[in-house]
Symmetry: C2
Subunit: 513 residues, 2 copies
């Protein structure tokens, strides 16, 4: 076996069975190894930001890492924005980056770059293979690093000669360190706070937002009168009819400050103390009120479900049943098409166990409200603020969960960063329905500018509008070998979306609002 073959075999043995690729010459031995080693599914993307975003979506849903295969420093560079998002989501990913052969690195060849410097910007673990024989152990350690709680990006740089030279064989999977446990003293302090009459906020993110721990958190909140909240953005939230409702912290700093005002105890379950997304003149970044004491019940690397169970036991009294969302039976919208009409139509028609990749930005304001009683589903959000995640994330989620419908809620501006996703969806026959909210502008920037009291002049307006010329997402889908439809009324949207929910995808619906 050559180094590349030991790499692929070690990945497969460690349970990594999907690789999102965009290879070049330096990676051809890895690519050749895909046919010599059984068990790795490679999925080609036309742009590396699709590969990194897809690996994020896959990892969030499969709860184990996919690999990515990228071409030297610039190939990795194209993947970095969505790796940034994955880093903030704490998604396990094994990133393989080809590099020049070691003997070639001293020369300033056109593609020469400091690959490790690119990798360090987003990775928790970076290593460059020192020999073909070392590749297998390096790979096993990369997988373990990616899976070490809470999960993260491990980048392994593979010089071409380490891929093509002979190696000994694959390496055994490494043991993964267990999740941490809540401190008993903290559990007691939190229980005491919750039993007091002082206002408490339980702030959840991460695996605490999966259905079971969330229900337990809901029972604890119900029993103690605590306010149950999630972070503004969450990697994965299980919600909908029959699930426990949870209120997100508002996006804008002044609103979040209002919601948290008066809290005496802020209890973190997988979350960090909230800070504003951006800083503004005369508005604090730190959102926890001075009145509040912060308790860290579970750090991101801890077992949040276990921590909540320990808390429930410490509280002692029998807990009431978890509150649950009632199923929504609202009528389908009719007439004029608006973002709200789309939300309401989706709420009615969303199938059970759907996965929603949410990058609708301003067009998604209110969406969480309308869909609270939709059939139970998973909601995946943008964790790092780097737009261009929605379509790739949906792509990877569909690979991880081929039996579930995936819906991508996407702003038109955001869609254009990684529109190449549509081709991979078409090629792999992925069951993704992309809904493009075509408001023809970067509306969030207009909102932000208005918030600081400025009115855009002509050049500023031209930086925030994308309506000259209009994008045609139905044509873009066709260009990528996929199909699309345009909805100009609520009734048309109902029909397109309803059909998409009953036919395997991919589908795209451009929503003119």
């Amino acid at each position: 076996m050559n180094g590349a073959e030991t790499l692929v075999q070690t990945l497969v043995d460690a349970g990594v069975e999907v690789c999102f690729t965009n290879p070049g010459t330096s990676e051809m031995h890895f690519v050749a190894a895909l046919d010599r080693v059984k068990g790795m599914r490679s999925i080609l993307t036309l742009f590396e930001g699709v590969a990194s975003g897809a690996a994020d979506g896959y990892g969030r849903m499969a709860e184990k890492p996919a690999a990515t295969l990228l071409h030297t420093g610039p190939g990795l560079a194209n993947a970095l924005a969505n790796f940034h998002n994955a880093r903030k989501a704490r998604t396990p990913i094994v990133c393989i980056v080809g590099d020049h052969a070691r003997s070639h690195q001293a020369f300033d060849a056109p593609l020469s770059a400091d690959v490790a410097a690119f990798a360090r910007t987003v990775s928790g673990w970076v290593r460059s293979c020192a020999s073909a024989v070392a590749v297998a152990d390096d790979t096993a350690e990369a997988v373990a690093a990616a899976r070490t709680p809470p999960g993260g990006l491990a980048s392994l740089i593979l010089p071409a000669d380490c891929a093509w030279e002979e190696a000994a064989g694959p390496a055994k999977p490494r043991a993964i360190p267990p999740q941490g446990s809540a401190e008993p003293a903290t559990v007691r302090q939190v229980a005491t706070a919750l039993r007091s009459d002082e206002p408490c906020v339980l702030l959840l993110t991460g695996e605490a937002l999966l259905a079971e721990p969330l229900a337990l958190a809901g029972r604890i909140a119900q029993a103690t009168g605590a306010r149950l909240m999630s972070q503004t953005f969450n990697a994965r939230l299980q919600r909908g009819a029959g699930r426990t409702p949870i209120e997100p912290l508002p996006y804008f700093a002044e609103a979040a400050i209002g919601v948290l005002a008066g809290a005496r105890h802020l209890i973190l379950v997988g979350s960090q103390p909230p800070v504003s997304f951006f800083a503004y003149p005369d508005t604090p970044s730190w959102l926890t009120p001075e009145s509040a004491e912060i308790h860290t019940l579970a750090r991101p690397e801890d077992d949040a479900a276990e921590a909540l169970a320990a808390l429930a036991a410490e509280i002692g009294t029998p807990l009431p049943p978890a509150p649950t969302e009632a199923a929504h039976a609202g009528p389908l919208p009719t007439g004029r098409l608006s973002a709200e009409a789309v939300h309401r139509s989706i709420a009615v028609q969303l199938p059970a166990e759907a996965i929603v990749s949410d990058e609708a930005i301003t067009s998604g304001f209110g969406m969480l409200h309308y869909t609270r009683g939709a059939a139970p589903h998973d909601w995946l959000q943008l964790m790092g603020g780097a737009i261009g995640q929605g379509l790739p994330l949906a792509t990877g989620a569909a690979v991880a969960c081929p039996d579930r419908k995936v819906i991508c809620l996407e702003g038109d501006g955001s869609a254009m960063y990684t529109i190449q996703s549509l081709w991979t969806q078409a090629r792999e026959g992925l069951d993704v329905t992309s809904i493009i909210f075509a408001n023809r502008r970067y509306a969030i920037l207009e909102v932000e500018l208005a918030r600081v009291g400025a009115a855009p002049g002509p050049q500023a307006a031209r930086n925030y509008s994308i309506d000259d010329p209009n994008l045609d997402f139905v044509a873009l889908a066709r260009g990528c070998g996929a199909s699309g439809a345009r909805a100009t009324t609520a009734d048309e949207f109902n029909e397109h979306f309803g059909r998409a929910m009953h036919e395997p995808g991919p589908h795209l619906i451009e929503v003119e609002i």
Copy 2:
């Protein structure tokens, strides 16, 4: 004036008058300043890789920097691949990156990232503004750093508070250090070598490939029997009928070694000693034969024209006239469409002073041969090997030279990295004609795999072909608000290209080969 206004005014005062943007919330004060300060044209892109590639194309043709405006670490990340290419091309660019307000940087907000770490991967100069008052001086120094010979990328990180707080005023442009001069001793050595009977190779790149210094180099070669060669890839080459012919060093290592075999003197004019693009088993990376002595007549930062003039004077004897290419009068191709037919059609129909952005990869093999006698034109190539440069580079060149036709020769695989360029071309009414060679595969990777003696298995083949499904570039152009046409015969191509050369653009022609 606030910090952002002093930044824009300082750029304008230093001659930077175009800014390729993709702003976010952190940059809204910069965007607002575009309307308060006169003289800066901002050009919105839908993806940052378009902005960086356009700045490269602009800088190569305008011979002065454009600015880019990018949104925090991830926005910069999306621009890095084309900045890598620009770095290898030594193109002057001033990269402005917004960041969180300084007081906000201690918090782990979603968009928090080490912006400087991203910037250092590609920049010769990186600074983060320490206060609003410092912004103007920092900007003046950034422009000077970008313009310091041989030119490069200067990245200025602008925390949001340094943009919105009050500042004193703009800063005066800094003096730019002059280009270096050839060492008299080296000039004498090179003249002695050239006057000897020993085989000499003059290896040119950079400004030595502009028409006048190239003609002088051609006269020197003619007088002394030296072989006149350019690097394989060059940022800008002035060629065509009436210009001095020059032979590029072959791409593949074994061919380059064959060409250089027996040389006794390798004379570098702006170039570096040649190395292979990639390393291969059993093939050396270093291409200069052991028999050859290397002479550096002009380093990249030196005045190559002056060095060639000094060399001509040192040689002493009157130089013969420069050899020139005869004008090509070949007939238009007819019948079956092929890459060669496209090359021949372009050779006949290319208008004088056209600018060609060449990222045709395998479909461009032979193109330089067929177009040697075309009307005089500038030829811009991919300098860093990071594909996805062609369309953005053409976009920026068209902004720099609004009175010249720009032709982009683009592989279908390469086009998909930065297809969003078509929208900016349409919005700005840029006179670019993009020719997409749709061979439905990453053909260079198939060539490279064959060269190492491997046959692709099914998974490998699926990583190298992009024909399932086929991309439709006419639909992609329409999706971006542009128009396109498809050519399936040589006659159709002649007609589409001929019309494009007589009507303002943008145009796109998909070539089915």
